[in-house]
């Protein structure tokens, strides 16, 4: 009934397959982003301009994806997943390196980053996989699902790209969780994961990744080397105080003591200039987007749509958690941007595509209902 009211309120939005509240949430985040980037980038309007263009493209992608009926994704789930995994394998052998990692595949016309595709391919694949049979998902299927998650996760971790692999893994695991994976399994899995941490440490992590973790555990041990970023970030956040130093007034960022100011550490700039008040507001905004995403997923028509929507929404939450946890010193430094705020395009496009799927899920159902009435 509520949906009908909404439809009646904004019929044109529904026709465009756009969910108003979610859209407003995203727009609000993007506006915040532009202000912070202007400040963090040394008041470079060019930087802001480029980000505006990226946002335009991202919203374009969101709009296009939202037009696609959600079941279409179901059809292509398996082939896209398989192609994605094959590309990851290809990256391993023929990939192009940059910044110490082998992440790109040169396909002649352009370079593509298969791990970025997997950010959506894995939740779609897992949603398809979990929704084949009635939920709750059975034990054996959980194991199968875990294998589907593990393969791309490990391939991406090897590149190495810890951030993306964490995101891909969590999207798959969220799908399994939302598909009703038994609580016993959830806890067993958590314990097993804890037990296997040493294995990760010694066999999977690269030296620089281990260094990051060590630095995270004790940043002050090396204040001028690896710990510098975290220390400066904490100083920026802490010195922001309750109401912040004011826009463009953050000394830690304006005087360049903060590293990666307009990308990974943009949250520190925000916290320094807008203080705890700003931080609460920003987290509330993120909370709203996540809540709205989950709400739309709950109202979805099928298990596939629910699981897919929920998984994409919760992955968005992981972005926020990993980034803020990193810059405030409670999680290790893992290169994950602050979603929709950090400067940069690639992950924003993927994320907006994800929100496009969610909007599609919400609006296509409503259209079906409205057509039947």
């Amino acid at each position: 009934m509520q949906t009908t009211e909404e439809r009646q309120r904004h019929p044109w939005l529904a026709k465009l397959h756009i969910d108003g509240p979610l859209f407003l949430g995203l727009i609000a985040l993007c506006c915040v982003s532009l202000f912070v980037i202007y400040s963090a980038g040394g008041q470079d309007l060019g930087l802001v301009q480029r980000q505006v263009i990226r946002m335009g493209i991202s919203f374009g992608v969101l709009f296009i994806v939202a037009q696609i009926a959600p079941d279409t994704f179901r059809t292509y789930a398996v082939p896209v997943y398989i192609v994605g995994v094959l590309m990851l394998v290809a990256v391993m052998f023929f990939g192009v390196s940059g910044k110490g990692a082998q992440r790109w595949l040169d396909i002649g016309v352009t370079r593509i980053q298969p791990s970025e595709i997997m950010k959506l391919a894995v939740p779609i694949m897992l949603a398809w996989y979990c929704a084949r049979n009635p939920v709750p998902i059975r034990f054996l299927h959980v194991l199968g699902g875990l294998l589907l998650v593990l393969a791309p996760t490990l391939l991406i971790a090897r590149q190495p790209d810890l951030g993306t692999s964490v995101l891909v893994a969590s999207s798959g695991i969220f799908a399994l969780f939302l598909a009703g994976m038994s609580w016993r399994l959830v806890f067993t899995g958590a314990i097993t994961l804890g037990a296997s941490l040493p294995v990760f440490w010694f066999f999977l992590l690269r030296e620089y990744q281990r260094q990051r973790v060590l630095t995270f555990l004790n940043p002050e041990s090396d204040p001028l080397g690896a710990g510098y970023h975290i220390i400066q970030s904490k100083i920026a956040i802490g010195s922001g105080g309750f109401d912040g130093k004011g826009w463009l007034q953050g000394t830690q960022s304006q005087l360049e003591f903060l590293p990666e100011r307009h990308t990974d550490f943009i949250f520190s700039v925000f916290s320094e200039e807008f203080g705890f008040v700003g931080v609460v507001a920003l987290l509330a905004l993120y909370g709203f987007v996540i809540f709205r995403g989950m709400l739309l997923s709950i109202r979805a028509q099928s298990n596939f749509q629910r699981i897919l929507g929920g998984s994409v929404t919760l992955t968005f939450f992981i972005y926020v958690l990993v980034n803020i946890g990193m810059v405030s010193g409670v999680l290790p430094v893992v290169g994950v941007p602050l979603p929709l705020i950090s400067y940069g395009g690639t992950s924003m496009v993927t994320m907006m595509a994800g929100f496009g799927i969610i909007m599609g899920i919400a609006t296509h159902r409503r259209l079906a209902i409205s057509q039947s009435t």
Partner: protein, 637 residues
């Protein structure tokens, strides 16, 4: 069995998802609250700590060096100036490819070949500093050339600062001294005096002469600038400026006119000249030859240049005026005469027969007069005017070494005069105790006779000769010689007080006049030893010549000089003391020349030149200086 129809309970499935979604949202909420709790801890609970750390990141207090006080001569002529110098500074964090950039700069500015190498070694030592000097002392054309292409070199800039410059080069080195880079020893000393903080931004410190002695006046007080810096240490803006207090200017008694005449007189000869103001103790001239250019030391002297100065057999680094130890020879005859009259050993009229030699009772050896045929009957006036040795052999024998030592001590021999530079020797006024300590031998009568003609162990500095002569000229006034005339700005000089010790009082003050008459006779008497030098002088003067045999010098030098050099080095030293006008003395002069021959012929004319200059009118003075300048120019061509 019928296969179970997969009829789905859509509601149950939907409800399951709903429950899981709520659990997820709850977890999201808890995690967000956890993040917020941590941020609260950082931003609210620990705010003070992080604010402090943020400020200490960006706020730096930079010391600002005070400008060093200038040094002027008595006529306001500048002797030590501050001139801007430019250095090429590199901010390593802002330079991309350091090797290429340095290579380009060296080629562009035609810097010396070793610039790059020494820069890299400095760079490795001072990695923590935001700026490293690539090259100090750029000349104007280099500054201009760099300025035109500066935009091509990010992270490289030119910095100007004031550096000491001595425009008169070697003319005043031994008096004014110089500043040099602060070294480890200076740091220790400054720490001890708790002055180190004052030098936080200062590069140089007085090392010699006036620059060293009046360091505390010249230096000034450090200022502070509170600045905001970025992560590379580059200053972004100034938050607060607490300007330094510049050092005070110093005005010396010196007159570069006398210095120029003195240098001209000593050209090519080793020796020293002191000219005192008889009524104040002010030092009008202090010159030691050879000198050297003090500017060499300001920016740090190269080891080659320094070794050259050290190994120079003429020892230019020694201040002969205050550190040179010369046998006084006959120049102390007036002083001994004063003592003789004071103790009543002689009177103005008492006479001694001089056959050309003197013999102690029961001793075979004859002490010879310089005039083989003798001077005949000699009284004190004739003894001084003609410089009769025999008279003085007799006088000193009668006085005895104890009387001589203690009275000459009263006249300042064997002691520092207290001149306001640190480079001063006590020279040596021997006595029995010294002889015992030094040689473990008693004092012999023969030695007293040698002392009587200013030889043997007795050594004096030209400054001691000047101050003791001033005592005679002023009839007992004991003024401390000093270079400082006043402190402060040109139009508001605070003049320093004359430092005067209790006067030397004789048994009869008329004795002074007796000796002064004798000293005037040196110039006016037809047989006076300085008569020729002062022929037709338009003023009255008094003086005493001295000629010291040089044997001792050979002991002091280890190297084997070549034959010609030996001959030169064993020639006599010439000394001279004098004052003018004879009636109301205004200036006192003391001269020591090494290995030139007799004092009357060599040293007295130097005194004449100085006194002529003193009594010359302004236009005559200018003419004299012009003549000297022309001569120098000719000599250089």
């Amino acid at each position: 069995m019928k296969k179970r129809v997969p009829i789905r309970n859509h509601q149950a499935e939907s409800a399951l998802f709903g429950r899981r979604a709520i659990v997820s949202l709850t977890i999201v909420g808890v995690v967000f609250l956890g993040l917020l709790a941590n941020l609260y801890k950082l931003q609210v609970t620990s705010f003070q700590e992080f604010q402090t750390r943020s400020n200490s990141n960006r706020i730096v207090v930079l010391p600002v060096a005070p400008n060093r006080g200038l040094i002027y001569d008595r006529n306001g002529e500048i002797l030590a100036d501050n001139t801007p110098v430019y250095s090429l500074e590199v901010s390593p964090a802002e330079v991309g490819d350091m090797r290429t950039v340095v290579e380009k700069l060296v080629a562009l500015l035609e810097l010396p070949a070793d610039t790059a190498e020494s820069f890299y070694s400095r760079l490795n030592q001072t990695r923590r500093f935001p700026q490293v000097t690539l090259f100090d002392n750029l000349n104007e054309s280099q500054v201009a050339r760099f300025a035109s292409v500066q935009h091509q070199f990010p992270g490289i800039n030119i910095e100007g600062r004031l550096q000491r410059f001595y425009p008169h080069r070697d003319l005043l080195t031994h008096a004014v001294g110089y500043v040099g880079r602060i070294n480890q020893q200076d740091v220790l000393q400054l720490r001890e005096q708790e002055l180190y903080a004052q030098y936080a931004a200062t590069r140089t410190i007085g090392k010699l002469g006036i620059e060293r002695y009046y360091e505390n006046i010249l230096h000034g007080e450090v200022g502070y600038q509170t600045v905001e810096v970025n992560n590379r240490g580059r200053v972004v803006r100034t938050l607060d400026f607490n300007p330094p207090t510049p050092g005070k200017d110093i005005h010396l008694e010196l007159d570069i006119g006398y210095q120029k005449v003195a240098r001209d007189q000593l050209r090519g000869r080793r020796g020293a000249i002191i000219v005192l103001d008889a009524n104040t103790g002010g030092i009008l001239a202090l010159y030691s030859n050879p000198g050297y250019d003090p500017n060499l030391f300001v920016g740090g002297i190269s080891s080659t240049e320094y070794r050259a100065l050290l190994n120079n057999t003429s020892n230019p680094l020694i201040n002969r005026a205050t550190q040179g130890r010369y046998p006084p020879a006959s120049t102390i005859k007036p002083h001994l005469g004063v003592l003789g009259l004071h103790l009543g050993v002689i009177t103005a009229e008492s006479r001694v027969w001089d056959p050309g030699w003197y013999q102690l009772e029961g001793v075979e050896r004859r002490f010879r007069d310089w005039r083989a045929q003798g001077h005949g009957w000699v009284d004190i006036t004739k003894a001084i005017a003609e410089s009769c040795n025999t008279y003085y052999y007799d006088l000193s024998f009668q006085l005895g070494i104890d009387n001589i030592s203690s009275f000459m001590g009263e006249m300042g021999f064997g002691k520092r005069t207290g001149i306001d530079i640190s480079e001063e020797s006590t020279a040596l006024m021997p006595d029995r105790g010294w002889k015992r300590a030094r040689y473990n031998e008693p004092w012999y009568h023969g030695e007293t006779l040698s002392i009587g003609i200013g030889q043997s162990f007795w050594t004096v500095t030209p400054l001691q000769l000047a101050t003791s002569t001033s005592i005679i000229a002023t009839e007992g006034r004991r003024l401390q010689p000093r270079l400082l005339r006043g402190v402060g700005e040109q139009n508001a000089i605070e003049y320093t007080d004359i430092i005067e010790n209790p006067p030397l009082v004789l048994s009869d003050s008329a004795h002074w006049q007796t000796i002064k008459n004798a000293m005037q006779a040196t110039i006016t008497d037809p047989r006076g030893t300085a008569r020729l030098a002062f022929l037709n002088a338009p003023y009255t003067a008094a003086g005493k010549t001295g000629t010291a045999q040089v044997v001792a010098l050979s002991d002091e030098t280890d190297e084997r000089p070549d034959v010609e050099d030996v001959a030169e080095r064993f020639r006599d030293n010439a000394t001279y003391i004098g004052y003018a006008p004879a009636e109301y003395p205004e200036i006192v002069v003391s001269i020591a020349l090494e290995n030139v021959g007799g004092g009357g012929r060599n040293a007295a004319p130097v005194s004449r030149a100085l006194m002529d200059y003193y009594f010359a009118s302004e236009t005559e003075k200018a003419a004299i200086l012009q003549a000297i300048e022309d001569e120098e120019a000719n000599a250089n061509n």
